[in-house]
Amino acid sequence: MAIFTLGKLLDRVEAFENRLTIFYAAVRDQSKDNGAKLLIYYLVRHRKHQQQVLENFNKADITHARRIKIQDDIPFTPDAERQLLQVNPSSINGKTLLATAMVYDAQLAQFYGRILKAPLNPMATSLIKSLIRLEQRHKLMLKKLLDMKYF
């Protein structure tokens, strides 16, 4: 049986966020939809907010936490349902972006929630809980934007 580390699992999130950032830059440069253009500047900050959560923890503690072994793999395929990253960036509208971002936040919170079920040390538990809270806050903000019906 393959053994995974917490670090490997978190790297999947980072890789996905990196792909999203590239996609968002393409939307920024190609989209003619005003809603999409405004949202992109909001959404791109998500990766930075994740980094800010990590920066609140001691670097050595994070290095240690990343080595924690997780017995079972936890798949992370947030784009499987909507496949936003396959869409032509110039054809994206704000409503689609917003709805998809809410799905991503839910998937991320779910992914972290599954990680929490593995035996972690207190620091790693605190880190994952902070990341879940970030996703919950982010989703709430997106819900507010959705309710405004601008996009």
């Binding site: 830059a25 920024r28 005003n34 809603g35 253009k37 405004l38 992109i40 500047y41 909001y42 791109v44 900050r45 930075k48 903000m141 507010k144 934007l145 405004m148 601008y150």
Partner: protein, 135 residues
């Protein structure tokens, strides 16, 4: 005389701000749209740019313009203060912590409505930083 360019589609707001800055001893140019702005900045070489984010035809014209200013050789060193009335229209909380070189390459944010003392302090601080860089 230190030159400041204000770019904001709100005519009344930009005139009021212009008056405040002129009273404080600055030479002020006001533009109410971003058309031809880069060329004007390259020509006039202001010491500071105060730039609104949302314009009627583009809700992120300020962000786009800031990035374009940084890419142009003649304008890339102009300090920028972004005006963020966008937070009143949409709950997006854009703030100074969002400043980065790729997406928001500006020096500071200022939330509308502006407090006179606060904006003058921001301007003075940025001009001092610029002067230090060039001394």
């Amino acid at each position: 005389m230190t030159k400041i360019t204000i770019v904001d589609d709100d005519v009344e707001f930009s005139e009021n701000l212009s008056r405040i800055l002129q009273q404080a001893g600055y030479e002020v140019t006001v533009k109410n749209h971003t058309d031809g702005l880069l060329q004007a900045l390259a020509r006039d070489k202001p010491d500071l740019l105060i730039l609104d984010v949302m314009f009627p035809d583009n809700p992120v014209a300020g962000f786009d313009t800031a990035r374009a200013v940084r890419l142009k050789k003649e304008t890339k060193n102009i300090p920028i203060i972004l005006l963020t009335a966008v937070n009143q229209v949409h709950p997006m909380d854009f703030a100074a912590c969002d400043i980065d070189s790729e997406w928001m390459p500006v020096q500071d944010f200022a939330e509308k409505p502006l407090a006179k003392a606060a904006i003058l302090k921001k301007i003075s601080k940025l001009l001092q930083v610029k002067a230090k860089k060039h001394s």
